[in-house]
């Protein structure tokens, strides 16, 4: 069981005072897993934790049963293309992949063969003997990908791998992910755009501010977001009357009087319609003093992740 999964057990990582990720408990099974969240949500931190580039402040991580502090074992299993867009100086694409493959202990001929094979898989054969310094952003992304797959790892960790790729290459790259996943490997990709990866992912993990906010199969995650009611705080005169009127609306899930007696907390599945209804109630004599989302942060993240569709449907 633990030999095919990547597990996080209550893992937190702080950078000094800054939260990287907090209390992450996850078990990833083979297939394509997407880590999705806005910038700064902790995607890179999770990937770095998995590969030992940073160490957890607390908690335990195992990658197919191996601790990230054992590079000699770990990197026989794992290939990681980081988000860093930097390379050793003065090397061609081929030399770059070849020279690090030599550290795996393969012979010179074997390393050359594996390098050429990986480069061919990302469609970079023609540019292989040019200096990496002269590559375009998309080519650099692809050569990084080639480097991550060159030693044939069972776990591929790719930080924003689709960034900077033109549409055609993007399709080819996604095909490569699918091929790897169909062979029973892990392909873990990150993205800050949900729709970019939702179609290809077997599993999606939504991150925000260092927390996992939703996880599961993509359809589950999407509907979980869409069905999650909005919480709206209404300040008004005659709150109990407004609460009972609000209950009559079919999209309202809950209406709760505030303890100070000056308003109602309304949970609705459709914020737009609630706002229109409130206008109507105001005409009926209830004075509306203020309307504000109760949980601005989470709502806006969800809107952002699913492209704003949830708020208008």
């Amino acid at each position: 069981m633990s030999d095919t999964a990547i597990t996080f057990d209550n893992v937190s990582r702080f950078y000094g005072e800054v939260l990287g990720v907090n209390r992450i408990t996850l078990s990833l099974s083979p297939g394509i897993t997407s880590l999705v969240g806005p910038n700064g949500s902790g995607k890179t931190t999770l990937m770095n934790l998995m590969t030992g580039l940073v160490r957890p402040t607390c908690g335990e991580i195992r990658v197919l049963g191996v601790k990230p502090t054992e590079p000699a074992k770990l990197f026989r299993l794992v290939g990681y293309a980081t988000q860093f867009d930097s390379f050793p100086k003065g090397l061609t694409g081929f030399e770059f992949i070849y020279s690090f493959l030599r550290l795996f202990g393969s012979s010179s001929a074997e390393s050359a063969r594996l390098s050429a094979q990986a480069i061919a898989q990302v469609g970079m054969t023609e540019a292989a003997n040019r200096k990496v310094a002269g590559y375009s952003k998309g080519m650099r992304q692809r050569i990084k990908l080639a480097q991550a797959i060159a030693h044939n790892p069972r776990v591929l960790v790719l930080d924003e791998p689709l960034n900077g790729l033109d549409p055609l290459v993007r399709i080819e790259t996604i095909d490569l992910f699918r091929k790897y996943a169909s062979e029973g490997r892990h392909v873990i990709v990150s993205s800050h755009i949900l729709h970019e990866v939702e179609a290809i992912s077997d599993q999606v993990i939504l991150l925000n501010s260092g927390y996992v906010v939703a996880e599961g199969q993509i359809h589950g995650v999407r509907s979980e977001i869409q069905e999650r009611p909005y919480e709206i705080l209404v300040r008004c005169s005659r709150p109990s009357e407004l609460a009972s009127k609000a209950f009559e609306l079919d999209h309202v899930v809950e209406a709760q009087l505030l303890a100070d007696g000056g308003g109602v907390l309304v949970k609705t599945r459709d914020a737009d319609r609630l706002l229109r209804a409130l206008n109507h109630l105001a005409l009926g004599g209830i004075q509306i003093e203020g309307v504000a989302p109760a949980d601005d942060n989470v709502n806006s993240v969800y809107d952002y992740l699913i492209g704003g569709e949830g708020a208008t449907k």
Partner: protein, 359 residues
């Protein structure tokens, strides 16, 4: 398993050598190593010309060597002129000492064709004699020992090691390319040792080559006979010792700056601290002297240099003498120290994290 680690170390060295030997940033290391070679070469070219010049002057202004050697301070200018005749060069200048009082300074230069004599008179009396004898191997080997201990080890090899070893890790953090190493199945200890050995290979080759060239340049002005008898009379041993000390300095300073690059965000500060400590060594009390690398390196040197020669009087009073360590002890101390520092570096590398840019 062990042979596998060895293979990985070789692979790391292969990857590093291009950077340690041919880094564009590292050009000044070659200049540091080359400077003393140029110095000795220049001297070897200059010395025979100087001898020719003195021979020509002696022919034009002959002075018997015996008379020259008999001149002593305290003699009057007339006495000197009577004994030696006219100098080949002279100069007079006056120094005002009051409204109407002057002090007269006179400088005479004589030569017997081999040695150059400078006489300084004040108010008609000979106060000071400076004598430049032709080079001998014995004289030059003391000069070499002084340059070696006070310039070469303390500055050239020192800064060369700063440049090469600090950048082994630090340079790649600045380039943001260290993670490629950390994402291979190479244990961090193996990586650290491999990088250290790559640095050693580069600095040892550059600086022992420089030492060898300096010695060759120094010997150049002497004839076959003189060089042959120097080599036969322990010269090879001295050369071997100098090469070995150079290599040992790379081992010692290399380990220190490997660690500095791993342990400090800004390793220039610890490097400066080590430089000050190693330079202050001369003035430290004997017990503290034992806490510096230069003390052991100097203990191994085959020829004693004269540090007090050109220092102001006050400073020489501050220099404390310490009994040099025995060769075996000195060698053991440097090696054990370096090994310990490399081990600390390995421990640090194990917990090293990648966080470029946020420094």
């Amino acid at each position: 398993m062990k042979t596998f680690a060895l293979g990985q170390i070789l692979a790391v060295i292969r990857l590093e050598l291009g950077k340690t030997f041919f880094a564009r940033r590292g050009l000044w290391i070659y200049l540091l190593a080359l400077a003393p070679v140029v110095l000795f070469l220049g001297h070897s070219i200059y010395a025979p010309r100087e001898q020719q010049r003195l021979a020509r002057l002696a022919a034009a202004h002959p002075v018997p060597a015996k008379a020259l050697n008999s001149i002593q301070t305290g003699m009057s200018r007339q006495e000197v002129l009577k004994d030696l005749g006219r100098p080949y060069f002279q100069r007079t200048w006056r120094h005002r000492r009051g409204p109407r009082r002057f002090r007269e300074h006179v400088f005479y230069a004589y030569t017997d064709g081999r040695s150059d004599f400078h006489f300084f008179f004040a108010d008609g009396r000979l106060r000071f004699i400076r004598r430049d004898d032709p080079d001998t191997l014995a004289k030059l080997s003391v000069i070499f020992a002084t340059v070696f201990q006070y310039y070469y080890l303390r500055l050239a090899v020192f800064f060369g090691c700063v440049g090469v070893f600090i950048n082994l890790f630090r340079g790649e953090m600045l380039d943001k390319s260290l993670h490629f190493y950390l994402l291979t199945p190479v244990r961090r200890e193996v990586l650290t040792v491999g990088k250290y050995l790559a640095g050693l290979l580069a600095t040892m080759v550059i600086f022992t080559a420089s030492t060898a060239l300096q010695i060759a340049a120094m010997l150049w002005e002497f004839g076959h006979g003189a060089v042959g008898s120097y080599l036969a009379g322990g010269g090879w041993g001295q050369i071997g010792a100098y090469l070995g000390i150079t290599a040992l300095a790379c081992v010692g300073y290399g380990s220190v700056f490997l660690a500095a690059g791993l342990l400090f965000r800004n390793p220039i500060i610890p490097a400066a601290a080590v430089l000050i400590w190693e330079s202050a060594n001369l003035f430290l009390p004997p017990t503290l002297k034992h806490l510096s690398l230069i003390f052991y390196l100097q203990s191994l040197c085959p020829v004693v240099a004269a540090p007090a020669g050109n220092l102001p009087r006050l400073l020489t009073l501050l220099i404390s003498a310490a009994q040099p360590a025995s060769h075996a002890a000195a060698l053991a101390c440097v090696l054990v120290f370096s090994l310990a520092v490399v081990a600390v570096s390995c421990l640090r590398a194990r917990t090293l994290e990648i966080s470029y840019g946020t420094d």
